[in-house]
C-alpha cells in the first residue's frame, strides 16, 4: 500500500513538488527530531568546529574511497569500498548537520543558495582552507595495498576516538559515536584481514603492502596532536583529545603488521596540528575540485 506511487513520486510529494536540490546527500533532514540543544558551558562555535574536524575526516576519506569505483581489483571489493564510503558519508552528513545546527557554516552559506541544506552547503561550498581534515585521510590512494593500509590506520584512529566519544556530554556527538563504532570496527577489521592477505601473500603483494605502510606511516605525524580547541572541549567533557588514543592505536597497528609479516616503521616525530587548522597540501583542493565542481557550476540545479 505504501508503494502505490513510485519512490520518486512519493519523495517529490513529500517535498511539496518543489524540486530537490540536485547534489544533496539525502531527502530528509538528518537531525529531524533530534534534540540539538548545546550542553551548558559549551561554546556552540567551538562544538561546531569540532564537528567539522570529525565530519571532514569522514567526508574526505569517503571521497577518496569512491575513486576506486569501477577500478577495484575485484567486484566484491568494489562493493566493500563503496559500503565503507557510504558509512563514512553518513557519519559526515550527521556531523556537518550538527555543525550547521549550532550555526557553524563559515563562508559556505554566502555561496550556497537558501534551499541547500546546511550539511550540503558545508560539503560543497567551503574552500580547502576551511576544511579541518587531517592529511592522513586526504593523501592520494596510491595502489590498492596502500589504500588498504590507509583505511586500516584511519579506521583504527577514528574507532579509538569514537569509542571514547560515546561518553561525550553532547548527546548528539555521543549518539553519532555510539552508532559509528560498530561501523568503524567492521571497516578496521576488513582492512586488517586484507593486509594479512597482502603482507603474508606473494612476494609482490608483500612488497606493495610494505611500500604502502612506508608511505602511510609519516601521515601519522599530526594525527595525535590536539589543537587548543580540542583540548578545551576535552576538558569540558565534549571532545576526545586524540593524544589519549595514541597507545591504543599503536598497539592495534603493531599487532596487525606483525601478523602480516610487515616491518613496522619508526613512529613519526610529533608535529603540531596542520590539517585541523586548515593547512593542507594541494591534494585537498584537487580532491575538492572533483567533489564540488559540478555543484558549484550549477548551484541552483534541482530535479
Amino acid at each position: 500500500m505504501a508503494h502505490e506511487e513510485t519512490v520518486y513520486e512519493a519523495l517529490d510529494h513529500a517535498h511539496g513538488g518543489e524540486g530537490h536540490w540536485a547534489f544533496g546527500t539525502g531527502f530528509d533532514e538528518p537531525l529531524a527530531g533530534v534534540d540539538t540543544t548545546v550542553p551548558d558551558g559549551v561554546d556552540p562555535a567551538e562544538l561546531g568546529e569540532y564537528c567539522l574536524m570529525l565530519g571532514d575526516d569522514a567526508l574526505v576519506l569517503a571521497q577518496r574511497l569512491t575513486e576506486w569505483i569501477t577500478a577495484s581489483p575485484e567486484l566484491e571489493e568494489e562493493v566493500a569500498v563503496a559500503n565503507v564510503a557510504l558509512d563514512l558519508l553518513g557519519q559526515a552528513r550527521l556531523l556537518l548537520a550538527r555543525a550547521g545546527s549550532v550555526g557553524v557554516l563559515g563562508r559556505s552559506r554566502e555561496l550556497a543558495t537558501g534551499s541547500i541544506p546546511d550539511e550540503d552547503a558545508l560539503a560543497y561550498f567551503r574552500d580547502a582552507d576551511e576544511f579541518r581534515n587531517t592529511a592522513l585521510v586526504a593523501a592520494p590512494n596510491g595502489d590498492f595495498a596502500q589504500t588498504i593500509v590507509r583505511l586500516l590506520v584511519a579506521a583504527t584512529v577514528r574507532l579509538a576516538v569514537f569509542a571514547r566519544l560515546r561518553e561525550s556530554r553532547d548527546p548528539v556527538l555521543a549518539a553519532i559515536a555510539a552508532k559509528g563504532v560498530h561501523e568503524l570496527a567492521y571497516h578496521r577489521d576488513h582492512a586488517a584481514r586484507w593486509l594479512l592477505r597482502l603482507g603474508d601473500g606473494t612476494a609482490e603483494s608483500h612488497r606493495r603492502a610494505q611500500d604502502g605502510v612506508d608511505a602511510v606511516w609519516p601521515l601519522l605525524a599530526d594525527v595525535f596532536s590536539a589543537t587548543d580547541l580540542e583540548r578545551r572541549l576535552t576538558a569540558a567533557g565534549v571532545a576526545v583529545d586524540p593524544s589519549s588514543t595514541r597507545e591504543e592505536v599503536r598497539s592495534v597497528l603493531t599487532e596487525v603488521l606483525e601478523r602480516a609479516t610487515l616491518r613496522l616503521p619508526e613512529w613519526p616525530a610529533e608535529a603540531p596540528p596542520r590539517g585541523r587548522l586548515g593547512e593542507h597540501g594541494p591534494e585537498v583542493a584537487e580532491l575538492l575540485g572533483a567533489l564540488q565542481g559540478l555543484a558549484r557550476q550549477h548551484p541552483a540545479a534541482t530535479w
Binding site: G26, V79, N83, H182, Y186
Partner: protein, 177 residues
C-alpha cells in the same frame, strides 16, 4: 495521548496509528515491515493531534531513510490521519537483535538469511578480529548449514554475501550489528 481525529473520519488513536505505520515495509527489503526490522521505534499522538513517528536508521549512511519517511507519511495520510511528523532517533543505536521473529521468518522466506546474535556491546575498546568472520548462516533456499562468505559487504549497508556449498546458490545475509 487520546485520539483526536481532526475531522478525518477514518483516523483513530495511537494504537490505530501504530498499526498503520507498522504495516509500512522497508524500501530495500520489501518483504519486511519497518516494525519487524526494529526501525519503527514509537508512534504517538500529540495534544494538537499530530501523529509523531520515531524511526532509527539501521546504518548511519542508510540512504533509504527519506523514502521511509515519505512512505510513513503517505500511509498515515491515506488512513485519514492529518499532521504527521517523522522524527529520527539516533540513540540507542539500532541492533539486528531488534529484528522480530516474524521479521526473521519473512527475510528467510524472501531468500535472505536472517542475522545471528549481535556481538556483545562493550564500553571499552572494540577488540580486533583478525580471523575469518565467525558468522554462520544457513542457506535460505535449501536449509544447508554448509555455507561460506563471499563478501563481507553486499548490495545494501546491512547485508553480506554468502554462497551455499550444498545447492551452490549465492544468497544475502543480514550481518549482525
Amino acid at each position: 495521548m487520546t485520539q483526536t481525529a481532526q475531522g478525518h473520519e477514518h483516523a483513530g488513536g495511537p494504537s490505530e496509528a501504530w498499526e498503520v505505520a507498522a504495516r509500512v515495509t522497508d524500501p530495500e527489503l520489501p518483504m519486511v515491515t519497518l516494525a519487524d526490522l526494529g526501525v519503527l521505534r514509537a508512534v504517538r499522538i500529540d495534544a494538537d493531534g499530530t501523529v509523531v513517528v520515531e524511526i532509527t536508521p539501521t546504518y548511519t549512511g542508510c540512504p533509504a531513510m527519506g523514502v521511509m519517511r515519505a512512505d510513513l507519511v503517505h500511509a498515515l495520510h491515506r488512513a485519514g490521519f492529518g499532521d504527521v511528523e517523522v522524527r529520527t532517533v539516533l540513540s540507542p543505536a539500532w541492533s539486528t537483535d531488534w529484528i522480530s521473529d516474524e521479521g526473521r521468518r519473512t527475510l528467510a522466506a524472501g531468500g535472505i538469511a536472517p542475522p545471528g546474535k549481535a556481538p556483545v556491546r562493550t564500553d571499552g575498546p572494540i577488540p580486533l578480529q583478525l580471523g575469518p568472520t565467525r558468522r554462520t548462516a544457513s542457506c535460505p533456499l535449501c536449509g544447508s548449514a554448509d555455507t561460506e562468505e563471499l563478501s563481507e559487504f553486499g548490495a545494501t549497508a546491512c547485508k553480506a554475501l554468502r554462497r551455499c556449498l550444498s545447492c551452490r546458490e549465492p544468497f544475502e545475509h543480514v550481518k549482525e550489528i
